[in-house]
Symmetry: D2
Subunit: 389 residues, 4 copies
Amino acid sequence: MAIEGRDETNAGRIRLGMVGGGEGAFIGGVHRMAARLDDKFQLLAGALSSTPDKAARSAAALGLDPARSYGSYEEMASAEKARPDGIEAVAIVTPNHMHFPVAKTFLEAGFHVICDKPMTTTLAEARDLAAIAKRSGKVFVLTHNYTGYPMIRQARTMVADGELGKIRMVVAEYAQDWLAERAEDTGSKQAGWRVDPAKAGAGGAIGDIGTHAHNLACYVTGLKVEKLSADLSTFVPGRQLDDNASMLLRFENGAKGMLWASQVAVGNENGLTLRIYGEKGGLDWCQEEPNKLWFTPLGEPKRLLTRNGAGATAPSTSVSRIPAGHPEGYLEGFATIYAEAAALIRAATEGREPPAGLALPTIEDGIDGLAFIEACVKSSKEDGAWVSL
Amino acid sequence: MAIEGRDETNAGRIRLGMVGGGEGAFIGGVHRMAARLDDKFQLLAGALSSTPDKAARSAAALGLDPARSYGSYEEMASAEKARPDGIEAVAIVTPNHMHFPVAKTFLEAGFHVICDKPMTTTLAEARDLAAIAKRSGKVFVLTHNYTGYPMIRQARTMVADGELGKIRMVVAEYAQDWLAERAEDTGSKQAGWRVDPAKAGAGGAIGDIGTHAHNLACYVTGLKVEKLSADLSTFVPGRQLDDNASMLLRFENGAKGMLWASQVAVGNENGLTLRIYGEKGGLDWCQEEPNKLWFTPLGEPKRLLTRNGAGATAPSTSVSRIPAGHPEGYLEGFATIYAEAAALIRAATEGREPPAGLALPTIEDGIDGLAFIEACVKSSKEDGAWVSL
Amino acid sequence: MAIEGRDETNAGRIRLGMVGGGEGAFIGGVHRMAARLDDKFQLLAGALSSTPDKAARSAAALGLDPARSYGSYEEMASAEKARPDGIEAVAIVTPNHMHFPVAKTFLEAGFHVICDKPMTTTLAEARDLAAIAKRSGKVFVLTHNYTGYPMIRQARTMVADGELGKIRMVVAEYAQDWLAERAEDTGSKQAGWRVDPAKAGAGGAIGDIGTHAHNLACYVTGLKVEKLSADLSTFVPGRQLDDNASMLLRFENGAKGMLWASQVAVGNENGLTLRIYGEKGGLDWCQEEPNKLWFTPLGEPKRLLTRNGAGATAPSTSVSRIPAGHPEGYLEGFATIYAEAAALIRAATEGREPPAGLALPTIEDGIDGLAFIEACVKSSKEDGAWVSL
Amino acid sequence: MAIEGRDETNAGRIRLGMVGGGEGAFIGGVHRMAARLDDKFQLLAGALSSTPDKAARSAAALGLDPARSYGSYEEMASAEKARPDGIEAVAIVTPNHMHFPVAKTFLEAGFHVICDKPMTTTLAEARDLAAIAKRSGKVFVLTHNYTGYPMIRQARTMVADGELGKIRMVVAEYAQDWLAERAEDTGSKQAGWRVDPAKAGAGGAIGDIGTHAHNLACYVTGLKVEKLSADLSTFVPGRQLDDNASMLLRFENGAKGMLWASQVAVGNENGLTLRIYGEKGGLDWCQEEPNKLWFTPLGEPKRLLTRNGAGATAPSTSVSRIPAGHPEGYLEGFATIYAEAAALIRAATEGREPPAGLALPTIEDGIDGLAFIEACVKSSKEDGAWVSL
């Protein structure tokens, strides 16, 4: 798969619609940039906001045909289905509670779906959605975007190849500080829905960022969390959901783990880090410096592996765009999810096998994410009892 | 100026052509991704290679209309000029020696030009080109892309605002190691032309990367180098151009400086760093971690300023796309050059003033770059004599 | 208190004896260097090994008077007590199981005691020892040496002064890798006793290094751990004690915490780190770079506070020996414990109040350390039940 | 050689005197701590200040016998020579201008000398002193203390063993900021003499810290600087000596170099760094994190070598005191110079060869240091002309 440019069959860019992502949104713009970077998609339609005015203004700002700016996602699904040049796929970038109904609607209408995480707000919905996706035969991609970072790809392959030996201990963290005070009182749209259980679901920090840390730990180690013991806290007064969560993990192979997710850890911006220790080696990675992966083979000096640098292997170089030392960042990692989604969608459209080497998060990861959230909440309510996922 | 999306007048994407950037090229792909990221350009035509087959294959891979894939840049200029839907601007991403003739051709044919650096291969050509550009009334943008990094923008404003006081000392470095051996013998197209004076011009490391360090030092300090004393070396046998250059600088305000450019410094990938010391403070920035800017006010603790983080100000936040802690990288900085180029081009097309706050490298910077290269060569030939720029 | 040189009364160096610390030992040499650095002690007697030959050889190597090299600690206590020029204080640097009997013997014989940690091998012994020390009226100093680092002193004062506001979350780690394989089979004396419950006590990693992390977290925050939920693991086959421990903490003020201690985390040497987050700020410190303390006031850029640098305050500067930027290390921090012990001992000898500003670990800290170990073991046996300390 | 404890012959501690180092001094205390750490010296006499009161007070604070606190170094030399228990060696820790007369006096009186750097204030004096030392048959040790850092020892051996191949480029820096303003006006004794040519000699920053950077570059590479082209600046008004110096270097093997010494670089504490690039590898070391040495073999990932860690070899481990991850600092490196001086002195006293493996700076290094200072001054006066050393 070439990262930049068209598919090997040069079938042209995939026609994309978007639900959510209007004025004041954050992740919608990220999805659009990610979709554009490698030129495999063109955004043609949108239900960008549930407020009609805002939807129209947002669509105009993005240069969409006004006729294809819809007042509701249902309208968009039917209208686009009816058009001969209608969209092929939809990106869902709403607050969490809308993921399920929107995804269901578009899958059942025959569209491929690219959906932000967490996949739904309950585990039951997540399982339903998986069944719906299966029945639909359509592609469903969950944007656990950190899995798109080249050095995460490399780390995953190193573990799979046994370079660390049997995994013993995993330390995953995602620390932020933007909710250390009541940002939800300042009119921040981002803060507002994330602290509202009706929109975010049962998880605060654990849903918003803990799921990323959990997903990444599992993605890289290839291991599932068997059970966890969690202690959720709400430090900022008046908040309903957790804003800090610490937990112990037990993985299926006997490995142990710790996970910390916090949105009140003053001095942290997006401190997603992963450390993995096995019998034969250790790995250390930090999202804020994603082009670096520290690897220590037992008894040898620590080595700095860099994206496209000495020691980089195909799993990372194949999803890199530029030479070592020229940093790729968050958008590039996100774009890789889109590039791989494009490859899956093209293959599905053409009825052939997708190219080898794709390493996208699956709908199964989405189910695991909700199982994680629900286990956290349950364990914490039971004062840290071990809860199976 | 909104970074993502269309111009405030929503005039649609700028029609872009490209010269160079076909198969095996590096910087062409970078320009294309940079142009796409913020959705202000669409690539419609190309003379992607001087080898016709390669040009056609490259155009097809990019999904260009075959009719608009040209065998030569001259052909492209006339054909596109003749089309009612012809391109408005051209991106020049060839080896250095072609910058001048291609830019001249397109400027004179009435196109806006976005040109890679160094601007030309001689100072005389650079001055000619400036005159040509002036006569043409067209926009000329030089992609000294590192000036697009948000924290470089912030650093520049901090210096201009006097936060460092009068500048005393500047230390600029650009260290790489990819030419530590004869990469030019391995079939690397990138290495091949860079070590060939007929294509690269009189400068090896100084032209390819020293110009970036020089440009960045001047861009951030707002000071010009008055004279320099250089020691150029060619460490790898059989090479005609310098692969390591060290020099002393004297700036117009009495500040002193050092500049080191090397392509043989084993262990360095793209180690472009800038340190600036004034009477009241010091700054430290490194391209490989571009989201961070270290600032020490005299007598106070060192502070870490981050892109979009606490302490970030408008010059950096206005060219940021995503929140603090989610790293932006090389492509985003490059894209900012394109976004600002788009604003300039739109304003020119519509006969109005460009929006405030643009901070693009100018054609004057291109002249300074060639003056820098020629001064380096002259000084080194004269055993380090001080040479005025 | 002057760090270097004699006490303010210039009473000369304190006469010191040592139990343990003969050939092949590690911590004995550390205590000796620490005691010497500031010239407040002179080592005059020793029972350096339970093997008489070794004891004599070790004493000779250290230049001790052969008459004052003893075959047993009991003999040393009585003989030194009988000498008019006998020692005033003893340093106990044996494996853990000997701390109690040796300390008891010397305290009851009227000597001041400087004892390595953990203080004893059981909580019951720890409490006994505290009572014995109290009855004796002698000084008892526990070498939780990391508390001697200047920036730890500063951190502690910052928390006490409210610069972080109410503490919410504490993350403490101590990660090593030297026991990732069976070092105990290689003849390593250090590894040998640490994995032997008869000598180390009930804790492996938790006793050897977890206690340091626990002590430091409490020392800096001024908070006690109220209860903990621990998961102890023994990853290396055939080992009886834990070599990896992860746990959740709850502090008395409602703060939460995590603590990880591991001796099998490949790639870690002595990764003792402490991160503290309060309502108003965050702190980050790492033992391997002890001269640096990262401080982020809420909503402001992160600041790098350095030992004796800008932003350093009396609690750190008063225990610093050399200027900022000239690193002090482990031995200097350890030496500060000795310097403060000397001040305590001198004051006790002279029947006056010790100077203000001492911040030594107390015998209470030793009790807390054993309570920590026993709580960890109990919690882990009960599958992570919360256990009060 | 054992680092801690007595010489292999167990001959007891060397009797040491000190000239300079009284109240308000900096480096005297450093020498005393360094001499004490490994227990190979005992300080017995001093001419600690040229002000008699101050000398007496300082001696008392250090616990010296008042009879051995002298009012002048000449008096000390004769009196100590006359005592059967007189000192064997003297440490000279005065401002620079006194190094020569004091060293001459003590050497000629038959004492071994340990002298701070720069060795003298002129090259002529340096050569004289070398001749005097040679005639005396006594040991002369110059405390270019940074050569005592374990990882510097390792770096030196790696270069000597060819792990970097032929050296091409050396970048040495020593940046501070404590003289960014007129500290000499604040009553700082340290600042006062350093900016006074009568006491410091012809070099300001180049003498005080530039000599360290020069010495370290030569020490590690094993190469001499053949010529240099320097640009000295005095940025702080009213100052007579340079406070910032930048220069180009040419080494005897054809390698090039840059050296920057500054005392006005705001944000730098003791930023002594050394980067060395050869045909086969690169090294990077920074004094502020001295336990780390970065090594990149050409075409392989960068490796972090640590003191006593994986990859550490005898040249570093033999001068280490404590395990990897427990940082040793400035005083330990300094102490190694003293430990090796002790070994030299013992060997001289006993008329035998010194033990193998000593790697102390020699009197030849002291001559090179003065040649460096004089070449810098001359080159700068001649507007950067190349001057041979």
